[in-house]
């Protein structure tokens, strides 16, 4: 059976609190109104979640000689994540910890998309995006790879589909510190997050550059 949770478009209702408020006291609460309200709420849960997570101006003249991701999972571990800035053999960025929640009520997580302007500059170049619970990327961690042999910059994207088994819990309970002694948290709870790592490489020492790197969430 096909089931519908949202019409996929926001349906305006009269202003809340106004004379035409459909939810005001003593008004009949018809099935149509409840369906519109549910549809809007589901849509907002989906759309509000889809956001830009990270942007980075990019890396210039990456001149390493890596030839990774022929054997995928081992390459995630083999990638030199410890590389120091300025060395230029690879580009490495810790892209941060980000809240990951389901796409509305579907139970499916949004797709993580990495989008870059990439110029191989000779040989083949690549960008890898890894998601994990923090710490060094491991072979079992989900990842997505972009490769290119383009001389001019070209737009390249890759998407990463996570499951609920790939996200991690974070407890949030900050004390109120503008009182003495500090007060109990105003509110507290647990959300789910994922850590993201980005690596850039070149296969033969030619100068690879990336520009305008973004990571955002999209509909699954």
């Amino acid at each position: 059976m096909t089931t519908i949770t949202t019409a996929g478009i926001w349906i305006d209702l009269p202003w809340s609190g106004g004379v035409d408020d459909r939810f005001r006291a003593d008004q009949p609460l018809g099935a149509g109104l409840v369906q519109i309200a549910s549809s809007n709420a589901e849509l907002a849960c989906r759309e509000n979640n889809l956001r830009t997570l990270w942007e980075h101006p990019g890396f210039t003249d990456i001149v390493g000689t890596l030839n990774l991701f022929g054997s995928p999972s081992s390459s995630v571990l083999a990638f030199p994540w410890d590389e120091v800035v300025g060395h230029s053999a690879v580009g490495v960025a810790y892209a941060g910890a980000h809240r990951m929640r389901g796409y509305g009520s579907t139970g499916v997580l949004p797709l993580i998309t990495i989008s870059v302007r990439l110029r191989a500059g000779g040989g083949s170049a690549g960008v890898v995006l890894v998601a994990n619970g923090g710490g060094r990327p491991q072979p079992r961690d989900p990842y997505a790879v972009i490769t290119s042999i383009s001389t001019p910059y070209e737009r390249k994207t890759a998407t990463l589909a996570l499951t609920l088994g790939d996200v991690f819990s974070r407890s949030i309970a900050p004390l109120v510190e503008d009182t003495t002694p500090p007060g109990a948290p105003i509110e507290s709870g647990v959300d789910t997050i994922v850590h993201l790592w980005v690596g850039v490489w070149n296969s033969n020492g030619a100068k690879t550059s990336t520009r305008g790197m973004t990571i955002y969430l999209g509909a699954p």
């Binding site: 939810f23 849960c45 830009t52 410890d82 509110e187 507290s188 709870g189 959300d191 999209g218």
Partner: protein, 344 residues
């Protein structure tokens, strides 16, 4: 004021289960209230970050007129060349609405953990030695300190290090974990009990749905440069901005984003933190899939100024590209922060 805590859940409400003339059940209204709460407070989307640095002053922006009340600040540090007991990093935070400033340094309105230095690990592998400190800045504390919640807030981080990198400074809105009667939105699911009369408390569902649309701001673009390593604009006409916004010579860098598709054309506010070196003017403009939008920047005569009053639109498509251009009527204009945020 009363609060009722909530877990981050998103119930599924199928239209087919609520046909016309069907018997309404308390569980349906309760689930609708929960879904509306999640829509309003479960997915706040403002954030900013500072990339790997060793020193500098960086500005990030958050508009506090959303449903979020906590801002998660995460500072991650590791050593630069070799592990050592001497490796440290200091990151200070000051928050201002342009009139009132809290911090830097000790303040009852900011998490005290921000005051302490950072010491990365010493295992010998840089990545394994990441030290991350996560704190939560509270909007209501800053409002109590005198900041206005109706204008953008500038979060200024000053970084200094000894043989370390500050790998990342992140700031992001946090989901709500409670329904609070002090808010103008929020629907208590437990109000809807079997056989209980529904009266005017159902109004809260409508207000909460409005908050799910209106009190949300998605950060589309946030680039924070060091005050001392800013972009320089010298072109007398609109041209790609050399530095962080340039792909290659004469070609503006294009950033791909995911517009918020609620049914209307996504509207944004945009602007920069800038200064003119003399008594001249300047301007920035963004080009998106929907058009080109300009923001004229008055002279600042050497003083840094935030101007985020530009208004523009994104394409109603699943992805859009944004690029910046700028001009300076004379002399040089410096830009240290770029920000594009949703205006619902």
């Amino acid at each position: 004021m009363t609060t009722r805590s909530r877990d981050l859940t998103t119930p599924a409400l199928y239209s087919q289960t609520r046909p016309s003339r069907g018997t309404a059940q308390a569980s349906q209204s309760s689930a609708l209230a929960e879904l509306a709460n999640d829509a309003a407070g479960g997915h706040p989307a403002q954030r900013a970050r500072v990339d790997r640095r060793t020193t500098g002053t960086f500005h990030c922006y958050i508009w506090p007129d959303t449903t979020a009340i906590y801002y998660a600040v995460r500072i991650t540090v590791s050593w630069r060349a070799a592990p050592s007991f001497m490796n440290t990093a200091t990151v200070t935070l000051a928050v201002t609405d342009g009139t009132t400033t809290v911090g830097p340094g000790a303040s009852p309105y900011l998490p005290r953990d921000l005051q302490y230095d950072h010491y990365p690990g010493m295992s010998g592998a840089r990545l394994d030695d990441f030290e991350t400190r996560a704190v939560f800045v509270q909007r209501d504390s800053l409002v109590a300190a005198g900041l206005s919640p109706s204008v953008p807030w500038r979060f200024t981080f000053v970084v200094s290090t000894v043989a370390t990198y500050v790998e990342a400074i992140e700031i992001a809105e946090v989901s709500r974990f409670a329904v609070d009667t002090a808010d103008l939105y929020g629907a208590d699911p437990q109000y809807y009990q079997p056989r209980r009369i529904i009266d005017d408390e159902v109004v809260a569902i409508g207000a909460t749905l409005e908050a799910a649309y209106d009190l949300q701001r998605r950060t589309y673009h946030a680039v924070s440069l060091d005050d001392g390593a800013h972009d320089n604009v010298t072109s007398g006409t609109y041209a790609p901005v050399p530095g962080s916004q340039l792909e290659s010579a004469g070609v503006a860098l294009r950033w791909e984003v995911r517009p918020r598709l609620m049914g209307g054309v996504p509207e944004v506010q945009f602007g920069v933190r800038y200064r003119t070196t003399g008594s001249h003017t300047g301007g920035v403009r963004i080009t998106t899939g929907a058009g080109t939008y300009t923001l004229t920047l008055p002279t600042t005569s050497g003083a840094w100024v935030d101007d985020f009053t530009g208004v523009g639109y994104l394409a109603q498509t699943t992805t859009d590209e944004i690029y910046w251009e700028a001009f300076s009527s004379a002399g040089t204009m410096h830009i240290t922060s770029y920000w594009i945020v949703e205006t619902p």
